[in-house]
């Protein structure tokens, strides 16, 4: 079957043999966008988080057929016109990543949260960002999320 969607601003039509294939496979292996990571494969860890129509979803558990006609953003498409997204800027400024593997998922989850909660409290962060980081960079991420909120506010 053919699935057509927009990804990072570009229209793509992909031929897949099984519409239930995880969108993650198509993104990584079909479109060669390797920024989104495979972690658990059970929608538990959040390493594969991307945006579909602006909402954070776990792409390892998202059948590609459901993406038909939708607007997808991956970590590669988060910046605009070469300018890093405020979350990416904050991550860079505070040197958040350690091994880095889970970070694209965290960044995408954080960007989705900030689009709804512009100035999150620590409680908002605890409740909304539930991804898993094996290196336990949670404290730096918390700081970076607050910093990203500041940057977003300054930009607007």
């Amino acid at each position: 079957m053919k699935v057509t969607f927009t990804i990072n601003g570009e229209s793509q039509s992909i031929e897949v043999t099984d519409g239930n294939s995880p969108l993650l496979w198509v993104i990584r292996d079909g479109l060669d966008l390797k920024g989104t990571k495979f972690g658990c494969g059970k929608a538990a860890c959040g390493a594969c988080t991307i945006h579909v129509d602006g909402e954070a979803i776990r792409s390892c558990s998202y059948p590609v057929k459901v993406a038909e006609g939708k607007n997808i953003t991956t970590i590669e498409g988060l910046s605009e016109n070469g300018i890093l997204h405020p979350v990416q800027q904050a991550w860079k400024e505070l040197v958040v990543p350690q091994c880095g593997y889970c970070q694209p998922g965290f960044i995408m989850a954080t960007a989705a949260m900030l689009s709804e909660i512009s100035n999150p409290s620590d409680e908002d962060i605890d409740k909304n960002i539930i991804n898993v980081c094996r290196c336990a960079t949670y404290y730096r991420m918390r700081k970076a999320i607050h910093r990203a909120a500041e940057l977003t506010s300054n930009n607007s």
Partner: protein, 204 residues
């Protein structure tokens, strides 16, 4: 001549035996038809309905707290998942972050249309069957539904009917289904509602 008479008798005997067998089978079918068409009492219907509604597949998303439950042991949903303002999770991750409109048998994540928690007014966890039934029938708590709308919800809503097609869990093991078949449940709901949805007295 002797042989011809013998053949005639044998043929007659076979016909008689055939008629007897056919008659017996027909009588058996009549009994079967009568059994399946016999309507059940409102209490029997009610008991079937409640056997389904109190099953884990339904109860897990009708929690008394703000955290859904999951699994056959009804443990609190992993990952600190919460009800959120609309029963659809919190802002940064909603139910649809992981749950789509159908089961995902690759990851074991279940899915059905409008996946989400029942409202707090329809919390069933820890309640008796009588209390649950009273709640279901109370428009103040059931979202303003009348009997016909309750029947439609229970017999047609794809999220309710998901209980009989729950897919596999994260280990690839089929989830349990309710103890009453989907068809029996639908019939029981309709008969219970048609009888005025009486809640039997003297039950728990």
């Amino acid at each position: 001549m002797k042989n011809g008479k013998s053949s005639h008798l044998t043929l007659s005997s076979l016909i008689v035996i055939g008629i007897l067998i056919l008659g017996h089978l027909t009588a058996g079918n009549r009994e079967l038809d009568t059994d399946t068409k016999k309507s059940q009492s409102p209490t029997e219907s009610y008991n079937k309905v409640m056997a389904v509604l109190t099953h884990t597949r339904c109860m897990n998303c009708h929690p008394s707290g703000d955290v859904p439950r999951q699994g056959e042991d009804a443990h609190l949903h992993y990952f600190d998942v919460e009800r959120g303002p609309e029963g659809q999770g919190l802002t940064g991750y909603t139910c649809n972050t992981c749950h789509q409109k159908e089961n995902n048998n690759y990851s074991g994540v279940p899915g059905a249309p409008h996946w989400g928690l029942a409202p707090s007014s329809m919390a069933w966890e820890g309640k008796s069957e009588t209390e649950i039934a009273t709640q279901i029938l109370d428009p103040e708590r059931n979202g303003g539904k009348n009997l016909k709308e309750i029947e439609k919800h229970l017999t047609e809503d794809e999220l309710v009917l998901w209980a009989w097609e729950p897919g596999v869990n994260a280990e690839g093991v089929l989830r349990e289904i309710p103890p009453v078949s989907k068809q029996e449940f639908i019939v029981a709901v309709k008969e219970w509602i048609a009888a005025g949805a009486p809640i039997p007295s003297g039950q728990n």
